[in-house]
């Protein structure tokens, strides 16, 4: 059974004082239903998740008590990817014809503050100040730069591109383009990463309507197809966040294995992809994820960024909506925003941030603690 995406909705990421996280999720679902020309009563199932904004299945209070199967999903930053994967398999198996995937969140200001026990770690790890995702991302790119000859120039260029793309996207949180100098001289947060190289926790909601592809044309003239959804966790030897120690031996990151699985499922390769979204919680991770997802060799990123290859008009347009850097990261919604953006691009409806040349294959990738990656491939 093939899986189609026939509707999508987004509540703008950023800060919306007047709405709860749950309400922002409901806005996204209503928009996705309207986009598909369907009603909530027609939905047979829903998968959804949020980190800080309540149980996703409470959405039925906003949308209607129709008795549908609603499963809450929580998988860190990969929550959206995992919800989408669950919905994908529900339709692929033939059990259901149509359903909703939704993610939303509303985080307090400032960095995340996870509790060690939730992650199987001793209290000492958090008490002594070692349990910060910002530290991990800084140390990962520090070592990566050392091993692969990446310089600070590449870190600045990723952020410059993100805010440039954000300035072209009316739904972005950060809509002001930042200059190279402004980024390069912003305060150092965790060496080598500066203030404008990190995304911030935020708010927002995103939703998609999935449908059995054989029936999709009853509802829309332009269905998109979810060719692959894959989620993988870390292997022994991969260097992941929230690790009091790491093994000496080196294994592929979960991104590498999720990416490979998704390409295998879809029968496509990196060379076929026209537009992509890679998890960019900071500049460094976008650089690492370019290679881990198979789009370049390790170390090649420096040159590709300098040549503008990853800009909207480049050969490999990455994070065309401004990514996490310009949209912030409401954890539950973030992975679905990526799919929303790729769908917008494939439909040719992205307006001023539209990738030229009628893109036909889109790719999305999320990565989250403590080492989980989700990859989706969408085609026209």
């Amino acid at each position: 059974m093939e899986v189609a995406i026939i509707g999508m909705g987004l509540h703008r990421f950023g800060r919306t004082e007047s709405l709860s996280g749950l309400q922002q999720g409901a806005v996204a679902v209503r928009e996705a239903l309207a986009d598909a020309g369907l009603t909530w009563e027609q939905m047979q199932f829903a998968y959804g998740g949020s980190q800080d904004a309540g149980n996703a299945d409470s959405l039925v209070n906003e949308l209607g008590l129709t008795g549908l199967q609603f499963t809450n999903v929580w998988n860190g930053c990969a929550t959206g990817g995992s919800s989408l994967h669950a919905a994908y398999t529900a339709i692929k198996s033939g059990e259901y014809d149509m359903g909703v995937v939704v993610g939303f969140d509303k985080h307090p200001r400032g960095a995340f503050n996870p509790r060690p026990r939730d992650w199987g770690l001793g209290d000492w790890y958090g008490e002594t100040g070692l349990m910060l995702t910002t530290q991990f991302f800084a140390m990962k790119i520090q070592r990566y730069m050392h091993d692969h000859g990446i310089t600070e120039d590449a870190l600045v260029r990723v952020a410059e591109k993100a805010f440039q793309n954000g300035s072209l996207n009316p739904l972005a949180w950060r809509t002001r383009a930042l200059s190279y100098e402004e980024i390069a001289t912003s305060p150092m947060v965790s060496n080598p990463l500066r203030k404008y190289m990190f995304c911030n926790p935020g708010e927002g909601g995103a939703a998609l309507i999935l449908c059995n592809a054989d029936k999709a044309r009853q509802f829309t003239r332009k269905p998109l197809f979810l060719k692959a959804a894959a989620v993988r966790t870390r292997h022994y030897g991969s260097f992941e966040v929230f690790s009091p120690s790491q093994a000496m031996e080196v294994a592929d990151a979960p991104t590498v294995t999720a990416s490979r699985a998704a390409f295998e499922l879809s029968g496509l390769g990196p060379e076929d992809v026209d537009v992509l979204q890679l998890q960019d919680t900071d500049s460094g991770t976008e650089i690492i994820h370019m290679a881990e997802n198979g789009f370049c060799e390790h170390g090649e990123q420096e040159k590709l960024l300098r040549e503008g290859v990853t800009r909207i008009d480049g050969r490999l347009p990455i994070n065309t909506d401004g990514g996490c850097l310009a949209n912030g990261e409401p954890v539950g919604a973030s992975g679905l925003r990526q799919v929303y953006e790729v769908c917008l691009q494939l439909r040719g409806e992205a307006g001023s941030h539209q990738v030229p040349g009628k893109p036909a294959v889109g790719y999305t990738h999320v990565y989250g603690a403590p080492g989980v990656s989700g990859v989706n491939i969408v085609t026209t």
């Binding site: 400032g110 960095a111 503050n113 509790r115 060690p116 001793g122 209290d123 000492w124 958090g126 008490e127 002594t128 100040g129 070692l130 349990m131 910060l132 530290q135 800084a138 140390m139 990962k140 520090q142 070592r143 050392h146 305060p187 150092m188 947060v189 965790s190 060496n191 080598p192 990463l193 022994y236 690790s243 009091p244 120690s245 790491q246 093994a247 000496m248």
Partner: protein
């Protein structure tokens, strides 16, 4: 003299003249872990033993924590007295890379590959007035490198 208490039993040998980091080694596959754990994350076995990991190593990667973390961070510092601290992974002769606070907190003091020495440092006072101590690393001097 104030009584010194480790923040968590089993992370390092204490009290000791020359404290060592403690970890575990799997009797089946030889995998080393820090902190010590009963199960093996490599071979899924459950026969491990506590071993010493040594008191020196080399710096594998690093960063500097420039702002005071939110809870669960629990030191005696305030926003006013907070001092940035280094964080790194130190490659131990025991065969594992251990994440640790570093005493150095300036980028020009830190370099991948530099030799590091284990130190036990006072961290905060508890309600009973005991001094809670933690492990950290600092650049090794030439005589103890």
């Amino acid at each position: 003299m104030t009584h010194q208490v480790p923040i968590q039993e089993g992370l390092f040998s204490w009290p000791a003249e020359q404290p060592q980091l403690l970890g575990s080694r799997c009797k089946n596959c030889g995998e080393t872990a820090f902190p010590a754990q009963r199960e093996c994350r490599k071979c899924s076995g459950s026969d491990t033993e506590v071993v010493t990991l040594g008191d020196h190593g080399t710096l594998w990667t690093w960063t500097i924590q420039s702002f005071m973390p939110k809870t669960p961070y629990n030191s005696d510092e305030t926003e006013e007295t907070f001092r940035p601290y280094g964080v790194g992974y130190v490659e131990m002769p025991g065969g594992v890379r251990v994440e640790s606070r570093l005493l150095e907190n300036q980028p020009d003091e830190l370099e991948i590959g530099m030799p590091m020495q284990l130190v036990i440092e006072p961290f905060r006072k508890d309600e009973a007035g005991n001094e809670i101590v933690i492990f950290a690393f600092r650049r090794a001097d030439s005589e103890n490198a």
